[in-house]
């Protein structure tokens, strides 16, 4: 079975519009759309054309190298891979509990990551769409335009991200691709001076994060109908939760709910994730399509990330963020909890939670401790799961008796969201594309839907909202009828 608009019945009679590439961190994706002569949409696919070889080339490497090596998967949220791999290797070493210092330093690193990644996505990459409009003047719809029109907002975004990066630098050794987390613990704690430096600005960061939640709420209030309807669809979801059901972005059990909100599994031990999740493959994408085994590949797709986490947790264990969660859940009778653009609101609630958590940890003397490593009874296998900025991240390794990795499986957040992103893009294409001429603004509507998930395709810092796009309309005879290219010079067209 395929999903609505996934596969056209007679594609050879349709013309093809391609957005190629839609930029993705460390790789490429593209969107293809098949239209008939009346410009009715028959097929929409988000293809991930990148091939990742990490699972293969990590084989044969010593296990202690893995947390440092696999984080190179990503330049935006490497801490997530660094920590997920470390957690997997903790399990492989038989470490059931880290020392308090190690656990809190890792959490501090992770919350720094959540803060900087969410700030980057919201302010640098998405705020131009939200502040100026999805189809607004492309010349101004970028971070430079935001700086010019809303300098205070841009400044907050830049400084929030900088602060998160500083937290990472002090816990991991570097802002990007550090080495702080190692199997069984961490290699450093904070010094008094480092704690004092971070404490100086944390209250400002909490206040600005709160402002950011207010800003996205205000945008929803101003554009409620459009935001609620944009790329909307019903979906199952999955995330980690703490033993008491509260949000926990570092550790917990898996909770999954179906499209009606019924619990599929709860507090499930992620060390056996394969009992509840399987992966489907499609011939047109290198990215797999995970699904819940209990629902099967046709009905079992789900989404992960901020929207799922905020709506599926019972509470958030920091007071300001929890209050914002309650207001989010109640807003307009709960309608926003199912909106694709609700991701942005949930993301800002999580950013506030991260800032509050950093503040709490900075007041905990355990982060200055010197007991950094724990030991245990060596195992052959390890699974590490963490809630990365974009969603649930799974690392799974087998290590032989000589300490070399013999098998690795990584299911990254964007992979979980594969079907959800395809569905959102189809919904947007149906509503905005039918019968219309290709414009830059139209292309951006499709990107706005993809971007809401903050997948790796929209978060490459070097793109900064000016993602290069190429679109071609090819006639049934294979002749190119219309082409449009967007690059740093703007939109250029060539019609035959």
């Amino acid at each position: 079975m395929t999903f609505e608009l996934e596969t056209a019945i007679a594609p050879e009679k349709l013309r093809r519009v391609a957005i190629d590439p839609v930029s993705r961190v460390e790789g490429h994706g593209k969107v293809t759309i098949l239209l008939d002569d009346d410009n009715k949409v028959h097929q929409v696919r988000l293809h991930i054309v990148e091939f990742r070889g990490f699972e293969k080339f990590i084989q044969g490497r010593p296990y202690w190298e893995v947390p440092v090596m696999v984080q190179r998967l990503c330049g935006i949220c490497p801490v997530s891979h660094h920590l997920a791999a470390s957690k997997a290797m903790d399990m492989m070493l038989g470490v059931k509990e880290l020392t308090p210092t190690a656990e809190k330093i890792r959490r501090l690193m992770h919350y720094g990551q959540i803060l900087q990644s969410h700030a980057l996505h919201f302010f640098h990459l998405s705020s131009p769409d939200l502040l100026f409009g999805f189809g607004s003047n492309v010349a101004a719809r970028n971070i430079v335009g935001v700086v010019a029109a809303h300098p205070e907002i841009a400044k907050k975004g830049v400084l929030l991200r900088k602060y998160g990066q500083e937290v990472i630098r002090m816990t991991a050794g570097k802002r990007v691709h550090g080495t702080g987390s190692i199997p069984g613990g961490v290699n450093k704690s904070l010094s008094d001076g480092e704690r004092a430096d971070l404490l100086k600005d944390i209250y400002q960061m909490v206040a600005w994060s709160r402002d950011a939640v207010g800003m996205i709420r205000q945008l929803f209030e101003q554009n409620l109908a459009e935001y609620n309807d944009f790329g909307r669809f019903r979906s199952s979801g999955m995330c980690l939760v703490r033993a008491d059901g509260a949000m926990d972005l570092y550790h917990g059990g898996l909770r999954a709910r179906d499209t009606d909100g019924n619990t599929l599994f709860d507090h499930f031990n992620y060390g056996r994730y394969w009992e509840v999740i399987a992966e489907d493959v499609k011939p047109w994408s290198y990215m797999k399509f995970p699904f819940f085994k209990s629902l099967g590949p046709d009905d079992g797709s789900y989404r992960v990330g901020p929207l799922t986490r905020v709506t599926q947790c019972d509470s958030i264990p920091t007071p300001l963020a929890d209050k914002e969660r309650e207001e989010f859940m109640a807003f307009d009778g709960g309608s926003v909890t199912g909106a694709t653009l609700g991701y942005h609101w949930a993301r800002m609630i999580e950013m506030l939670h991260a800032a509050e958590s950093i503040k709490d940890l900075l007041h905990d003397d355990d982060i200055l401790g010197h007991d950094l490593m724990a030991t245990g009874q060596r195992q052959q296998r390890g699974v590490g799961v963490i809630e990365a900025p974009r969603g649930t991240l799974i690392h799974h390794y087998r290590v032989d008796e000589n300490d070399l990795v013999i098998r690795a499986n990584l299911i990254v957040s964007t992979t979980h969201n594969n079907q959800a992103m395809n569905t959102a893009v189809r919904e947007v294409a149906k509503k905005y594309l039918n019968g219309r001429e290709i414009t830059e603004g139209l292309l951006n509507h499709i990107e706005v839907a993809i971007r809401a998930f903050d997948p790796c395709l929209s978060c490459a810092t070097h793109a900064l909202g000016q993602m290069p796009l190429e679109v071609a309309i090819v006639g049934a005879d294979g002749r190119v009828l219309d082409e449009a290219t967007r690059d740093h010079r703007g939109l250029t067209r060539e019609s035959s």
Binding site: W64, E65, P67, V68, G178, I182, N187
Partner: protein
Amino acid sequence: MNNTFQLDGEEIPFTPGQTIMQAATAHGSYIPHLCWHPDFSVHGSCKLCTVKVNGRFGSSCTMEAQPGMEVENRTAELDDKRRTLLQMLFVEGNHFCPSCEKSGDCKLQATAYELKMMSPHFDMFYPDRPVDASHPDILLDFNRCIMCGLCVAASREADGKNIFAMGGRGLLGRRVHVSSESGKLADTDFAATDRAASICPVGVILSKRRGFVVPIGRRTYDLAPISAQVTEKAP
């Protein structure tokens, strides 16, 4: 005549029989090198320590100091040639500093920083080299080997074991071998306490399960460049 020579204009004292490298190191002056170590016999293979003595090229690790020598060391011409030698070493092996646990403690990397090597310049060879993890305490990752011969010398001269040996022919064929019938380190009497276990200037011979325990900022060459640690670390 005094027992001194000029190294880049600086007067360096020496005792008869000392090489230029030995005298310079004792004085605290840095001459870039990789295969030389004061505790072991001279190998003279890396050629990084090449200097100009009275206008002619020579290896400072093998050439005895003589009174009145005029020795050029850190000139643009010599450092440029050294940089090229480093680039060739980098492309001949598989040196992936970002995930190497020796990063920050590696003499090859530190020397490359010292000589401002900005890229490998040449096409990478990507040789197929083995990882030997058979020993319970020591990992051998020959991807990073620069054929300096220090492990061979340390095992023979300090440990009296002859665990390692150079063998094979040609650019890609010549490599360090483990002297056991199986070729595996586990089938030798190598011990983690051997001098050879801690002699490798790059990331070939490594203690297992200790990678990345020293945080960034506290590693050897985070603290000061290799040229500023002559007496302590170079070697």
